[in-house]
Symmetry: C2
Subunit: 347 residues, 2 copies
Amino acid sequence: MTEEPSAAQRPTLEAVAARAGVSRATVSRVVNGGPGVREELADKVRHAVDELGYVPNHAARSLVTRRHDAIAVVIAESETRVFADPFFALQLRGISRELTAHDVQLVLLLTEGRDDHERVGRYLSGGHVDGALVFSLHLDDPLPGIIRRAGLPTVFGGRPGWQDADAGERSAPYVDCDNRGGAREAVRHLVGLGRRRIAHITGALDQTSAVDRLDGFRDALADAGPHLIEEGDFTFAGGERAMRRLLDAEPELDAVFAANDLSASGALRVLRERGRSVPDDVAVVGFDDMLLVAEQTEPPLTTVRQDIEEMGRLMARMLLRDRSGEGLAAGPSSVVLPTALVRRASA
Amino acid sequence: MTEEPSAAQRPTLEAVAARAGVSRATVSRVVNGGPGVREELADKVRHAVDELGYVPNHAARSLVTRRHDAIAVVIAESETRVFADPFFALQLRGISRELTAHDVQLVLLLTEGRDDHERVGRYLSGGHVDGALVFSLHLDDPLPGIIRRAGLPTVFGGRPGWQDADAGERSAPYVDCDNRGGAREAVRHLVGLGRRRIAHITGALDQTSAVDRLDGFRDALADAGPHLIEEGDFTFAGGERAMRRLLDAEPELDAVFAANDLSASGALRVLRERGRSVPDDVAVVGFDDMLLVAEQTEPPLTTVRQDIEEMGRLMARMLLRDRSGEGLAAGPSSVVLPTALVRRASA
DNA sequence: CTGAAAGCGCTAACAT
DNA sequence: ATGTTAGCGCTTTCAG
């Protein structure tokens, strides 16, 4: 009644050693692929391991090695966006793939606003994981500071917003796509189509991706009047709102570049409501190439593609490289991936 | 050069004890809220903890308590669906919320097909986590067996497909929504609208949710001819394909119930292509109430809502209840949540 | 109510 | 090449 019925006592290194007639150290060597064990003995050990169904105790191992073979993925995004947008899911998959290949576990930390930062900080400083992958920072986010103090190897997803000076000598490594270049290309495409009044629906401007895309827009259209730029927030509803304001301010507009596909999709909806045909009256370009959204809008969306899964994979790879002790000098400290314009029907 | 520059030696229980002038045992009691420590001493200890910035070493603790304060979330879904569908993201959020409240960590295990099952099984049996939440099982999935053998407390997301007999006396606890009842209600709604030729696009029939929804369809429409039922796979493309076949087989159909919103959305696209107006010519009902999809289709989708996030939260709660030793007799072993029809424009 | 001491299972020097 | 040994940091009887 008090005894745990199943989940019997798991065999220890000691038990394997006894069974194989060797010392614990030898078993440890075999299990961890250590060097210099006679093949004959190693075989015996492996047999004993199989027979007993031995699995190393991770806690005991961590206690001495101070490694955890686990990294944290922190998604610092609130309600609205995280899960309306398959973006994070794709990154997660990329990350998961890479980690799996290295037998490293993924601890997922979802934050729900500022209160959570403390909790996350505590966890990250708590020495439970070997590193962290941090996404979707906002400009005033306290997380980077917390992390730096914790001294935990970290790679950021998207260029962090703080000044490089703050970060000391080496700034934190990050992976991002070429937001500015992609935006520029999108707008140039619109210009090439002969559009003259091109508007922009921005993303949430407390994130560098939104700022960079806005910069790209301006690169291509230095003289765009302020009434052609309307702030959005990367959501569908934000896209709708922005599109309404744009149409009110500039009924003659003939193109719009939205900071992501979700807001482009909101814009499309408003354009339809207002009787503008796309792309005839108004051409629309998005950003992300989120298939679930871009392929299913009416009409399908011309957009700027970024390889989101690859970004995730890359982040994980950079973190693991760091972890394996290569440290400072190895490889570039940040990576910016190229984007590509994907033409569909909307522009 | 060889010294780790940051990440200095973290203080141990011992250090705190020395600082507070008490024994390790006392510090341990205070830190863990143990009973019977004089308030005066406890205060001293707490001060020392703060001054030193002491954080307990999790590995050391696990080693002796055999608890990990971590659970695994296993998503056993392949490429196609996991990340096309915000479904899992929502569940994850529900789970994360509940776990956070209990200071339990979430280890995410994404599988990529059968090869991965072994890896996941090994991890789950490896004694790294206190329990598991498992999603999206397919009928012939080896995972349940592996898990049962590992003797790990587990709650399934969605009714598992195996026969109860296999599972021994108590079958595995799960959380699901009332797929059958929801489907029935959807179809009755269509009938109430006066529709006479109602078709069904199923989900992937190796998952119980798809089978249950099909059963619900049949409950309401016992005499539906087989040419009115077309197999889909819960994807947009699957919905398109199925809709085409249905229209070919039964051009006169005036309604379709799709097993989820994504496939309903594919159906909508085909209906538009073929010049049928929705809902005038053909009424369409989906399942899930995935806002990203259902609110943005043209026209917006009438669908069956399930509270996905709540399902996640509930699963976590059930698992934690189990973990806290209440064991067998406490509470119902499975939960089926109600669904609700959400009327929009498509039916 | 508090302290002393015995491990939890494993790795990594250090011997041999 | 293999074995011996000393902890890693913590919880938990058991004495006092």
